[in-house]
Symmetry: C2
């Protein structure tokens, strides 16, 4: 399972741990501006008793995103509620990030003979990234079935995206219900000492906790 | 374009350089046993006047292949001519390699606003890897169109695989015709001082030169 250390992947990990006998989490150190999420992911994996594998892959070598290129500023959250409706993709989009991360997950899953890949992607209360949408995941799963040895052998990897059609409030509620360590998670794109409160990630997170009627345990 | 430094990708690069105003080659240092191909790739890119980007991504961290795990021996070439017919995939298969490499190529292509990705894959005189087959490339291109910003914007990346249905002899002939620096290429999986002559990569290469009636310029 791909674990960023944010809210969605942490709740997804709680589901994976509940449903699977053994879970390996994969966290990518990709040169992200918000490196604090790496430490969050480490604590979340430990807190939920899952193994963690950190992959070093420097996407900032070619940049093209506010998250990997210091020359591009992280924008403040503006258009509520839905980027999907407007069709505009914000500058925090990282070129091919989920293509790359899903491919890495496939390699690790096949090497370890895992049957499933869990992804905490969400296409409802999200930043409008195309690689979080169900149609992308379905197409990727099909490509993986054709490209992997285990797919050719009739044992394709099963991609599980239990949160993909949840609202952020539903994700918060599910996290509380499952005892996910939400207090350890990190969402803010700016990655400073405290969450900025104004980027897309902070705004969507705040909306989720607010609508769920839960106080965000990561905020002091 | 993905460049390994082998015969096929070198001939493919000669085609890309002929057909495109600017080409960026991407070579992955993935912990491969035959690291000599990295130096070959560097020389080939320089020889054909293409920019080279080296991506460091250690696939040996999880292994699962004779090319990334020293505990798994590189097998000698046996079944001539076709693995595809037998359906057996050799231990030199690297889990998800082309999924990962194609995804990396997408990220770099999108960041640099390239229109096409060239791949030197071949599904005729090859080792039977599922991720070299046309059906995989077609499915991956579809997934990339859905997952990338430029796909959503109506400008999907064009995947070009000019050698996919060529015999190795045809590839050698084309390389000679285009003046590709075949003398700089490295194919052998064992990666010792001289090509071993007995692994799959050596055997397929020898077959290609022999059938094309050309002396392999990389052999002294």
């Amino acid at each position: 399972m791909l674990l960023s250390g944010g809210l969605d992947s942490t709740v997804c990990l709680a589901i994976a741990v509940r449903d699977s006998p053994a879970v390996t989490t994969v966290t990518v150190d990709y040169g992200q501006r918000h490196r604090r999420e790496l430490e969050a992911a480490r604590r979340v994996a430990a807190g939920l008793g899952a193994e963690q594998l950190v992959v070093n892959l420097d996407l900032s070598a070619w940049g093209g995103s506010a998250l990997t290129d210091d020359a591009i500023a992280v924008p403040n959250h503006t258009a509520a509620p839905s980027y999907a409706a407007s069709g505009a993709i914000p500058t925090t989009y990282v070129p091919a990030r989920n293509l790359i991360f899903c491919a890495l997950a496939c390699g690790i899953a096949e090497s370890r003979d895992c049957d499933s890949v869990y992804l905490g992607v969400n296409a409802l209360d999200y930043s409008g990234y195309p690689d979080c949408r169900p149609e992308f995941i379905a197409a990727f799963q099909e490509a993986a079935a054709l490209g992997l040895k285990r797919g050719v052998e009739g044992r394709p990897l099963d991609f599980r995206t239990p949160l993909i059609r949840h609202t952020k409030a539903q994700i918060v509620g599910l996290g509380v219900e499952l005892g996910a360590p939400l207090e350890l998670t990190w969402s803010c794109y700016r990655g400073e000492m405290e969450p900025c409160g104004s980027c897309d990630a902070c705004a969507l997170r705040a909306k989720g906790f607010s609508e769920a009627g839960v106080t965000d345990p990561a905020l002091r």
